[in-house]
Every structure is written in structure tokens, then in C-alpha cells.
């Protein structure tokens, strides 16, 4: 996977210390941020049995992260409004770089590497207007920022790379926030969208939901190998509206909304915190920490089942099914025969699990 240019660049950037691969960090399959029992924060690598393979301290509560495709390097983003992101050497536990958004910008908690690992794309917004920006950073040259382009909407959150590595998909949540206190400023007029952009920022597709769902903030994404995108939403309108919280979309087509039965939908409390396709790609799930539940859907959007687990949020593919994490330190695998506890660490897992 490593290109010659990328390899040389990484040698140059690393100086004396050669960059190590993921094997040196215990070959984790996942990254997850956590709060430790003493109140400090950290980033863990997790293997498929739920064992923590490394732990690197973070200066503050993390949100999501991104793992470099080959180097044992992760970017950990601070929670919104993000003033920094840290590039962490997961093998040695060192902070390699501290990334700051340009003046008047803030990170929005998510980022993704290019397929070859030479670039990092970060979700950002202008502090004054909440207009979305994608920042582009050169991972071979000390994470210099060298490009940026509009995200196609207000308040972007998650972003992912589409299969083939030539297109980004971005959840423009639509919410304009106050730069200091995260107060939501435009709920009556918000208009979220799902934007597909080339790596240089030209819009390839842009999807908005029907007007009655415009207060459904599109925030988190999962992408299947064939280009099916799952998007998870958070309802900002009147409580109890029981709107769908999951959508499925293919570029160029109309989105499919996946709805659970009314009582189940109400129990989600209008909030989906993470989304993932199952390991076999046949289904997709969302989690709600507020409702303490996970909803499974078929890949055509048909509701399959609800599972309950307090403060559940993190979600990633594992085996044929899923791995979930929660604020009680639990790591639970969900397979065809239901959920199985894998491990419980003395920490509180943060919102997301990042697959490596």
C-alpha cells in the first residue's frame, strides 16, 4: 500500500525515529477514547477480543479519532468546539504533532486519512458562521495543512472516504453553534445535508431530506464496500416526534429512511450516536446512549431488533456482527446468536469506536 513517495516522505518526517507499523502497537483492530477511573482521558487500541493493546494519555476528553492506514499513528480529536487534534504514536505513546485549526476555525470531532495515508482530512467549521470546511493536511510533511475546501453545508460532523478513495462523504449536520458555548443558534431554519465531494472539494452529490425532516441533524456515517452509505441522525425538533434516525443512500439515488416501530423509535429519544454496518455487511445498526439501546436494520432499511445496554454508544463492525462500547466500560460483541460480553474495563468509553 505504501507508495515510494509516501515512504520516503515518512522517513524524512520521522527523522531519527523510524515510524512503526500497527504490529508495534499490539495490532489493534480498533481505537477508542475513554475516561479513566482517576478522571484522566486516554486513547486505547483494542483487539477483536476486547483487550486493550495500548493506552496513550490525552490531555482532555477525546471524541473520535482516525487511524493511519499503515503507520501506528492515530489522530485524536478533541470534543467540539475542537481547538486541537493530536497525532499520537500508538507504539511509543508519544504525541508526534499537535494540530490546530487556522484562526477562526474549529475542529468538529472527526477526520479521515486518504487511502494511501498521505493526507488527513478534517471536519471543521468557521467559528463565526458555522460554515463547514474540510481541512487537508500532509501527513508526510509533519502534518502541514496545505489545502481546504467548503464541506457543502453548515456544521459538518463525521466524514468518511468512499470506496476507491476518490470521494469524501460528509455529514453536514446543519446546526450553527455559538463558538464559545456550543449553543444551537438556527434550529428553526436548519437544513442538514449529506455531501459527496472530490478530494479537491468539487461537489459530486448533495442530498437533503424532505422538509418535515429538516430538523433531523445528519451527524454520523458508515460506508459499505459497495458504496452504500448509512447516516445516523439526531432530532432537534419537538421531543416525541419519533422521526427515523437512520438513512441509507447511494450516490445519485434517493435516500431510504429506516424507521423502527413507534414505541421503539420513542425509546431512542430522538438520538442516534453511532452507526455501523455489520461485519458481513448484511445489516446496519445505530446506537442511542440516551435510550440505552441499539437498533438493528436490514440493509434495505427494514427494522430487525432492539437491544438494550445502558449508555451504549460506540459501534463498529466485528466478525459478522458488531462491537459495541459504553460509558460503563463494557465491550459487547453482537453476533447472529445475540450479544455477548467481551470485556469490561474500569473506564468509560467515549462516543465512538474507530475501525483500523
Amino acid at each position: 500500500m505504501t507508495t515510494r513517495r509516501g515512504f520516503i516522505a515518512s522517513l524524512l518526517a520521522a527523522g531519527a525515529a523510524p515510524r512503526l507499523g500497527w504490529a508495534a502497537a499490539g495490532s489493534p483492530s480498533f481505537l477508542a477514547a475513554a475516561r479513566e477511573p482517576d478522571g484522566s482521558f486516554s486513547l486505547h487500541g483494542l483487539d477483536t477480543d476486547g483487550v486493550s493493546t495500548f493506552r496513550v494519555p490525552l490531555p482532555a476528553r477525546g471524541h473520535a479519532g482516525a487511524g493511519h492506514p499503515h503507520r501506528a499513528e492515530a489522530v485524536a480529536f478533541a470534543r467540539r468546539p475542537g481547538a486541537y487534534a493530536l497525532v499520537v504514536d500508538c507504539a511509543r505513546g508519544d504525541v508526534l504533532h499537535r494540530l490546530s485549526p487556522p484562526e477562526g476555525r474549529q475542529f468538529n470531532g472527526h477526520g479521515v486519512f486518504s487511502a494511501d495515508g498521505t493526507a488527513l482530512f478534517t471536519s471543521e467549521q468557521r467559528s463565526d458562521t458555522s460554515e463547514g470546511v474540510v481541512g487537508v493536511w500532509d501527513t508526510g510533511a509533519g502534518y502541514n495543512r496545505y489545502d481546504e475546501f467548503p464541506s457543502g453545508g453548515i456544521g459538518p460532523h463525521d466524514l468518511r472516504l468512499m470506496p476507491g478513495g476518490e470521494t469524501l462523504v460528509i455529514a453536514n449536520g446543519g446546526i450553527a453553534t455559538d463558538p464559545t458555548d456550543r449553543r444551537k443558534l438556527n434550529l428553526p431554519t436548519m437544513r442538514p445535508n449529506l455531501a459527496y465531494l472530490s478530494l479537491s472539494g468539487s461537489i459530486r452529490d448533495l442530498v437533503e431530506l424532505e422538509c418535515d425532516l429538516r430538523q433531523n441533524s445528519i451527524r454520523h456515517l458508515a460506508v459499505r464496500h459497495d458504496g452504500l452509505v448509512a447516516f445516523a441522525m439526531q432530532w432537534e425538533g419537538e421531543p416525541g416526534a419519533a422521526t427515523p434516525l437512520l438513512g441509507l443512500h447511494r450516490m445519485g439515488e434517493a435516500p431510504i429512511l429506516a424507521q423502527a416501530p413507534l414505541a421503539d423509535e420513542l425509546a431512542m429519544q430522538g438520538y442516534a450516536g453511532s452507526v455501523a454496518f455489520s461485519g458481513d455487511g448484511r445489516e446496519v445498526a445505530i446506537t442511542s446512549p440516551r435510550g440505552g439501546r441499539l437498533h438493528r436494520f436490514a440493509d434495505d432499511g427494514a427494522f430487525l431488533e432492539a437491544l438494550s445496554r445502558a449508555d451504549i454508544c460506540g459501534l463498529a463492525p466485528l466478525g459478522h456482527g458488531y462491537l459495541t462500547s459504553d460509558g460503563l466500560g463494557g465491550l459487547i460483541s453482537i453476533g447472529a446468536d445475540g450479544p455477548h460480553p467481551l470485556a469490561r474495563l474500569e473506564c468509560a468509553w467515549d462516543n465512538h469506536i474507530v475501525s483500523l
Binding site: R35, H63, R79, R80, G109, H157, R182, R219, Q234, E238, P239, G240, A241, P261, L262, A263, D264, L266, A267, G273, P289, R290, G291, G292, R293, A306, S308, R309, A310, D311, I312, C313, D326, G327, L328, G329, G330, I332, G338, P339, H340, P341, R344, A348, W349, D350, N351
Partner: protein, 328 residues
């Protein structure tokens, strides 16, 4: 698990106080669902004899009273099961709309007890029945009318739901709580998590009472919202708030195997504040003096929650959810 605690006791180790899960189930939750099932049986029986509003109201009130001790639980089968028994709040008026349509269209489902489980949850349960029995749009219906049959059908469906819920708790979910921490239990990975789950229910119930049952009709000072009072048609708004507070205290007392003097005192203040309220359905909330009395009750409910947090939460070192309290 009992052996382990006993062992820890002998060895003089710090034992987390875990006795409460069994007591919470056996002293409060399971008897509560059994009593509710009995009350809905009586209600359904009454409706078979005479489905007119006047005749059904006493059994309806008794069933609602029986519901309140377990009404705010959102665990296991109650997570969704409670919603089709008590569909509230209903800001968009789904209950009224669905019932109006069923009656106007003389829908055959109105006399189909078996099939009624497929109807929208907004048209099932206590609040649907309340609408038929108390709302002027419906309540005058004669014997033999569609509305009368519908009332009997909703009562019978409610009875079935109550039986199913009681059974699901007794035969299935009680064991999930009791086996917390066992290797195959994927809902509660440790014993403490089951305690935490029940404790969280107590606090959410009190928050629901403060924010929705009382805060709903209070609205803002400039714009009180009397139509948002829970069960206002049957005059139960105040009664439900008090019964919910009593249930919270009872469940807390079952969960803790120590005395809760602050909690007990706080419940007394809730009752005192409630006794000063004149309109049992909060329809006088538009009067600033009356609104103030509801606000005093709201503060008393919040103080009850604070007392439970101090007397149970602090001792068990339970804090709020890490992710559920945070955005994104």
C-alpha cells in the same frame, strides 16, 4: 453472588451494597405489575358488563392508580411496553386523532380485541381510554355505539398488555437483573450495573415528573400550558405527580438496605406542597398564584431527587451516564 458477598464480609473486605436488586424486584416492581394486571382485569370485566363512560370511570381510576408505582420504569419489557400502556406526552394529539378516525369510520377493529394490538400505540392504553371516558368529544356515547365497543376493546387490550408485561418481568427480565455480572449476561456486566439501572430509573422518574408532569403545564411564566397537564381530563394530574413521587421513594427504600431519613422527609414536603394545590388537573396554572404553588411542588420533587442522590447515589458512587449526558 450471595456467597461472594458473604465471603467478602468474612474477609472484612469493602462490600458494595448490592442486596437491593432482589428487594426492588420482590418488594416493589413485581408486586406492582401483578397489582396493575389485577386492576386492569377488573376494568376489562367492568367494560364487558357496561362500556358506558360513567360506569367505567371508577375502575379506570383504580387501574391508573395501580399503574403509577411502575409507570415510569423504562427497563426491559417496560422500555417499549410502558409506551403502549401510557402514551403520553402526546404534543401532536395522536391519541385524539386516531380515536376520532376509528369512531368516525366505524372501523371493525374497534370490536376486535385480538387485532387491536396492531393499532397505533397512540390509540391504546390508559390515555386512549381516558379520552373516550372523559373528553366531551366522546364521553357521551350510548350503549351499543362504536365508541362504547371501542372503550371495551381498549380495556380488554389493556388487560392483555398488563398480563404480558407482568409475565415478561416475572418470567424473563427479573432474572436478567438478578443474574447481573454472570458470564452470559450481556445487559448487566457486573452486579453494580443492575443496582445502577434501577437507581437511574428512580431519578428519571422524578425528572419526568418535574419536567413533564409539572413543567409541562407550567410552561413559561408568560405562557402557561394547561393543556399539557398529564391526565387532565380525568383530573389526575396532581395525583399522578404525587403517586410517582411515592413510587420513587418506595423503590429507593427497597433498593437501599439502610434508612433514608432525608428522602422520607423530602417526600413529606412533596405531599405538603401537593396539598396546597387546588385544581387537581392544574387548569388554574394560568393564575400566577396557582402557578407558583405548582412550582413549589416541582421544587419539592427536585429536592426529593436530590435527597435520593445524596442518600443512595453518593453511597454507591453512581454518577450520570458518560455519553447520554453529552452531545454527539
Amino acid at each position: 453472588m450471595k456467597l461472594l458477598s458473604a465471603l467478602a464480609l468474612i474477609l472484612g473486605l469493602a462490600t458494595p451494597t448490592l442486596a437491593g436488586v432482589d428487594e426492588a424486584l420482590d418488594d416493589h416492581i413485581l408486586p406492582g405489575f401483578t397489582a396493575f394486571a389485577a386492576a386492569t382485569e377488573t376494568l376489562a370485566q367492568a367494560a364487558r358488563n357496561d362500556c358506558r363512560a360513567e360506569a367505567l370511570r371508577p375502575a379506570f381510576q383504580a387501574a391508573f392508580d395501580a399503574w403509577m408505582p411502575v409507570a415510569d420504569l423504562r427497563l426491559g419489557p417496560s422500555e417499549t411496553g410502558a409506551l403502549s400502556i401510557a402514551f403520553w406526552p402526546d404534543p401532536r394529539g395522536f391519541t385524539q386523532r386516531t380515536l376520532s378516525r376509528l369512531v368516525a369510520e366505524d372501523d371493525p377493529i374497534t370490536s376486535d380485541v385480538e387485532g387491536y394490538a396492531e393499532v397505533s400505540i397512540a390509540a391504546r392504553g390508559l390515555f386512549a381510554l381516558e379520552m373516550l371516558l372523559f373528553d366531551p368529544e366522546f364521553a357521551g356515547y350510548p350503549a351499543g355505539s362504536t365508541a362504547c365497543e371501542l372503550a371495551a376493546t381498549i380495556a380488554a387490550d389493556l388487560d392483555r398488555q398488563a398480563d404480558a408485561l407482568a409475565q415478561a418481568w416475572r418470567d424473563r427480565f427479573a432474572d436478567v437483573l438478578r443474574t447481573a455480572g454472570e458470564a452470559t449476561n450481556a445487559t448487566y456486566l457486573t452486579e453494580d450495573e443492575a443496582v445502577r439501572a434501577i437507581y437511574t430509573q428512580i431519578l428519571s422518574s422524578l425528572a419526568f415528573t418535574a419536567e413533564k408532569r409539572l413543567g409541562g403545564p407550567m410552561g413559561s411564566f408568560d405562557r402557561p400550558r394547561p393543556a399539557r397537564a398529564e391526565a387532565r381530563r380525568s383530573g389526575r394530574s396532581l395525583r399522578n405527580a404525587v403517586l410517582a413521587a411515592e413510587a420513587a421513594r418506595d423503590l429507593a427504600a427497597a433498593l437501599a438496605d439502610w434508612k433514608l431519613p432525608e428522602t422520607d422527609a423530602a417526600l413529606e414536603r412533596v405531599k405538603d406542597a401537593a396539598a396546597r394545590i387546588e385544581d387537581s388537573s392544574f387548569q388554574d396554572v394560568t393564575d400566577p398564584q396557582a402557578r407558583l404553588r405548582i412550582e413549589v411542588l416541582q421544587q419539592a420533587v427536585q429536592s426529593l431527587s436530590a435527597a435520593i442522590q445524596a442518600e443512595i447515589g453518593a453511597r454507591l458512587d453512581i454518577s450520570q451516564g458518560f455519553n447520554s449526558q453529552d452531545g454527539d
